[in-house]
Symmetry: C2
Subunit: 184 residues, 2 copies
DNA sequence: GTCTATACGAGGATAGAC
DNA sequence: GTCTATCCTCGTATAGAC
């Protein structure tokens, strides 16, 4: 699964070649087909793997780390997705590909919409901790804008249209704007 | 070019088959290769085509239409990309696909980055007309956020994670937030 | 479980006639 | 400019030995 994540990060969901995956994993293509039903099976299991991994690294904090304020937690959670680490790049790339594929492949839409809903609610919850007096509608709207912006910035970053540092600045400013707006 | 836009909107950049494009245009595959150097050439010219077309439909106004205020022009320009018409859906789909495929294919990055820069500057200009006292840096930042958000919302819309009407509301609210922020 | 070898189909690209 | 016919590479998937 780790090899699959690497290859998808390198070639994309639709650019994944079973032969290349086999080489990356150090096995033969036949063995891949022994373990997975077909190409789609590989994709499906890899995406599950990637989702579990994302859940882990956005939740995890060092045991001796100082407790975060609500505002810090909000910023960390969003800015964690704009980082130059292997795991994050692989996950962001795969997520972007999943999203883009769903435009043409209906089978992925359901899962994606559900995952998006969960994510938006998580961010709305964090926003609510920062601005407890806000209405649920306002929180949901802000969360939808922030997560959609993150997807947009992420794709621009990965496609070479936007330096990572600048993407982070823009994201931080957007968080600031939304929090300010909720507070007014 | 119109046929190419249709096929890309239907299959995606990486799902585009020269054979299908030829059929869509009512010609042979050989004729496609006579007019375009190769598959990449098709893609590159299609990107140019959809940009020109977008430029046209976001700029064009009916001759007898009342003149727009700067704020109205800004809103129209951005919200026009979130509409259920054939041209807009094709353009948004193709743009999203070109953006997504640039993550894995370097050949289009340059063109895409340039087109993005032009678009951001156009929006920054409109924002400047609404808030003339703003600094160039603040205007550029707001324009980058608004255009990146539009890309994010657009992809969510096209992938079935977000109803069009809701996407429009979120976009309008974001414009409102950015304009307010520049004015403060 | 894991390999080598290969069948098979799809699709990009070209040759050459008209 | 436009076509038909075709080459050839690449990628999925399977057969069968160990």
């Amino acid at each position: 699964m780790e090899a699959a994540a690497r290859v998808i990060a390198r070639r994309g969901v639709r650019g994944l070649r079973v032969e290349e995956l086999a080489a990356e994993a150090g096995v033969s293509t036949a063995l891949i087909y022994y373990h997975f039903k077909d190409r789609t099976g590989i994709l499906r299991q890899t995406l599950e793997f990637i989702n579990d991994r994302a859940e882990r690294y956005t939740t995890e904090r060092a045991a001796d780390a100082p407790p975060l304020t609500a505002r810090e937690e909000l910023e960390q959670t969003l800015l964690l997705e704009l980082q130059e680490t292997v795991e994050v790049r692989e996950n962001s790339t795969a997520w972007g590909e999943l999203r883009a594929s769903a435009v043409f492949d209906e089978t992925l839409r359901e899962d994606l919409a559900r995952a998006t809903r969960v994510w938006v609610q998580e961010i709305a919850g964090l926003l609510g901790a920062v601005r407890p007096m806000s209405s649920a509608v306002a929180l949901a709207g802000a969360a939808e804008r922030l997560t959609a912006l993150l997807e947009g910035l992420s794709t621009r970053w990965l496609s070479g249209s936007l330096p990572l540092a600048h993407a982070r600045t823009l994201m931080a400013d957007a968080i600031d704007a939304e929090v300010t707006r909720l507070g007014s």
